[in-house]
Amino acid sequence: MNKALGVALAALVSASLAACATTTPSKPAAGKSPPPAASSQPPPLPKGLDPAANKDPFPSTYRPMPGRDVALVGATVLTGTGAQIDNGTVLIKGGRIAAVGAGLAVPAGYETVDARGKWVTPGLIDTHSHLGVYPSPEVQAHSDGNEATDPNTAQVWAEHSVWPQDPGFNLARAGGVTTLLVLPGSANLFGGRGVTLRNVPGRTVQDMKFPGAPYTLKMACGENPKRVYGGKQRAPSTRMGNVAGYRAAWINAADYMRRWDDYRAKVAKGDKADPPKRDLQLDTLVGVLKGEILVENHCYRADEMAQMIDISKEFGYRITAFHHTVEAYKIADLLAKNDICVATWTNWWGSKLEMNDSVEANVPLVEAAGGCAIIKSDDPDLIQRLNQEAAEAMAAGRAMGMPITEAQAIRWITANPAKALGVSAEVGTLEAGKRGDVTLWDGNPFSIYTRAQRVWIDGGLAYDRTDPRFQAKSDFELGQESRR
């Protein structure tokens, strides 16, 4: 009750801040040119040659869908902050959460949704998806997720592979998913940049890009890189080859950063200077070293994760999340101490040797150690049922005596993923001021029989199970006789 009250109070305090926030898309923070210089300065570099000139060359054109102010009344609300509010009301105003609490009065002008007997959660967030880069149908022509031509392809960006017409986006939305990180595959040590998307139908990927979300870099440990490149008779073919590859790349990145810093220092002093040649691969790695790009690191085994942590310290960057990480429970203390999120499944295992030591209680054990635990999909079917996978993890925790509540478990697919994507200020909880991303369920979301009934994204109704007008279809599905 105290928590519920707190949420409600927070709502009152920041409601006014939120009111006008979605009318214009927020601009990314980055992208300013170097400060204007003295008259002796050389002319600015030609467009495209200065990595700092424009860090957002494919800017988001996302626009919230039309919506009106909505009040969900009488629901069991899981706020994503750890609270459960019975008989709760969620107010969405101007596309943002305005207030959340028990028995709130609904102000005039709101569309009221009778949510009695239903459950309300934040829109779900998937930290690991390949929708769009490995779209359906899964044919060779659509296979755009791995630039498996070199172990370091930090220069490629997943958004340049995303097919916005992947029918999987619509199916994920029907599963309550409102935000997702689309990553390159894990064939490479450095797979490239991921892109965080709003799960709305878009004509272009820019229409889906989460405004202001930080970029991410996909890295991969273990079997995949060594198998892919070992199979081509080139490095890496072993795990020690993998590690040598990471370190060599960070050395190059640090050197590139130093050359640009030297150049800028000289220019600032008015000295003559020749700019380094821009390198897209190193731009991404330098973004990591500067803390602007978040590292999302595919890594299954505990021993390899510990080594990746040491490498990050050697070169001065941070790992935001380990992905897959079926052995996180073996080093849950180490991961918590380093504030690294763990994005995993509950019971996917055994496909290959490095995923042989999975335990269903991985997520509860990580959380019990004080870590940031996440259930993610990495799969176009599982993304439709993140709540089910979380229920399995909750069951595994309860089976070993942990009193895990629904209010706690929902964080594995909402608030914690938001943290791992660097978008916690905007999404992941039902708190006043956050984006109006809300999923209405026809029952307890941890039951196998429960399905998402309606999904709002930025306050716009993006999905309604009972109303075909709000069930988007991709271009690919139109006119298909067998879809009728």
Binding site: H130, Y134, S136, P137, E138, V139, Q140, S143, G145, N146, A148, G168, L171, G185, S186, A187, A220, R227, V228, G231, K232, H298, H324, Y329, K330, A332, N347, W348, W349, G350, S351, K352, L353, S358, V359, A361, L365, A369, D378, D379, D381, Q384, R385, A391, E392, M394, A395, R398, A399, M400, G401, F446, S447, I448, Y449, R451, E477, Q480, S482, R483
Partner: protein, 451 residues
């Protein structure tokens, strides 16, 4: 710590020492008995003697001398029967398995029964999902059915220049076997329960690239089997025309052409399903459809032909141009049309235990609960000819049953007791051993000393 945990687990289990032998006669009392097809459970008892069920129901007396197990109101179902399974034939998928062959000399005769390993660490995980028997099925070109193959998290195979599958499978992938998942060495329940063939794109591929080629080759093969059956003596004297299959394959197919052994046809597109139905009718073959993403569009024809369907209810994406019509309501619509449906898990082995969740998903999308329970128990038993032994709680059948802490389709429910042939199975797995080893990271000694 370990001991405390063990006692905690024992407290939640119904048999004090999991894995310990039960008496020859056991009465599970205070149970809510849920049989396939039933809408509601029946309060009552199940009596087991010498590994068989001897009595089930509301007014069943507890025999004198029986060991009494109080189910405490828990739901009792038959043990689940996994279809399209690889249990016992795989440990780690990428390391290898025993469900497919890649030689032009062997197709129909390939028989999974010789590979089965009861010591596989995958089996206890399946048992913890309530699975007590499984139909180990050869993998046809393109996969076994609706279930995706085990997860490939890299996608690298699709981009490394290699073809999607390097295995040139035969028209016939081989013969399935039914196993029971009891601890111990005796797991084969019935071998040679079905023949598997790929259709659609995969069938086209094994036949040289086009659907039309597969049907011509298949008809020729079946005709050769009949000719061989009629002219064995001449064949043995080498006094007979060349046949399209090896002698071993011809022998293996005799029960198929005689209508005794079902042909499991992996087919997804509606037009492929229709073509297979016609082939089976023309050739008088007993047919089972597997995969069957668009089966709902052919439901009346499938029902009229009396052909059962094995499917995965989570398949709702156009994964290929063969599954454009995939829908979560496939199972419900087939059930409504009167088709016998069997529901599979999400992989042949490691995620087989998710079959009970898949049954729940089918219910969430319109299937009846009784129908969904049948789809994971009695229907597969019937389809593969072992319903006299497993699949329902009836006197005379093997005592393969599960006592659940709640609704068997709910992730939050767990098995409290698993009996196979009357023996209580340990509710343990290698996964749980790992979990308990690392539950407390602050022990003075390294984890290597905890087991």
């Amino acid at each position: 710590m370990i001991r405390r945990l063990a006692s905690l687990l024992a407290a939640t289990a119904l048999v004090t020492a999991p894995g310990s032998a039960l008496a020859a006669t056991v009465a599970i009392v205070n149970a809510r008995i849920l049989n396939p097809g039933a809408a509601q459970p029946v309060d009552g008892s199940v009596v087991v003697r010498d590994g068989k069920i001897v009595a089930v129901g509301a007014n069943v007396a507890t025999p004198a001398g029986a060991q009494v197990v109080d189910a405490k109101g828990g739901i009792v179902t038959p043990g689940l029967v996994a279809v399209n399974s690889m249990l016992g034939a795989v440990e780690v998928s990428a390391v290898g398995d025993d469900v497919d062959v890649n030689t032009p000399d062997l197709g129909a005769a390939f028989d999974v029964q010789y590979a089965l390993n009861p010591d596989s660490v995958v089996i206890p995980v399946a048992r913890l999902g309530g699975i007590t028997s499984a139909v180990v099925t050869p993998r046809a070109e393109g996969g076994q059915g609706g279930a995706s193959l085990d997860h490939d998290d890299s996608g690298s195979d699709a981009t490394s220049g290699a073809p999607a599958s390097e295995n040139a499978h035969h028209l016939f992938a081989g013969q399935a076997a039914v196993i029971q998942l009891a601890r111990g060495s005796d797991m084969l329940l019935k071998p040679k329960v079905a023949m598997v063939s790929p259709f659609g794109d995969a069938g086209a591929k094994v036949a040289g690239g086009a659907r039309g080629a597969e049907f011509v080759l298949l008809k020729e093969a079946l005709e050769d089997v009949r000719a061989y059956q009629r002219n064995r003596a001449a064949y043995e004297r080498a006094g007979y025309r060349d046949l399209s299959l090896s002698r071993a394959d011809l022998e293996a197919l005799i029960p198929v052409v005689n209508g005794q052994m079902p042909l499991v046809a992996v087919a997804n597109r509606a037009s492929d399903i229709r073509a297979v139905l016609k082939l089976a009718k023309d050739e008088k073959i007993k047919l089972v459809l597997s995969g069957a993403a668009e089966a709902w569009r052919v439901a009346p024809e499938i029902a009229a032909a009396g052909v059962p369907v094995i499917l995965n209810p989570v398949l709702d994406r156009p994964t290929s141009f063969e599954t454009l019509g995939a829908t979560l309501e496939n199972a419900a619509r087939l059930e409504a049309a009167g088709v016998t449906v069997a529901i599979e898990g999400n992989s042949g082995a490691h995620r087989a235990h998710e079959m009970r969740y898949n049954a729940g998903i089918a219910v969430a999308n319109g299937m009846t609960k009784g129908g969904a329970l049948a789809a994971v128990t009695l229907n597969p038993a019937k389809i593969f000819g072992v319903a006299n032994r497993v699949g329902s709680l009836e006197p005379g059948k093997d005592a393969d049953l599960v006592v659940w802490s709640g609704d068997p389709f709910e992730p939050l429910s767990k098995p409290q007791l698993v009996l196979i042939r009357g023996e209580a199975q340990p509710l343990r797995s290698r996964q749980l051993d790992l979990r308990d080893r690392y539950k407390d990271l602050n022990r003075p000694m390294p984890p290597g000393y905890s087991y």
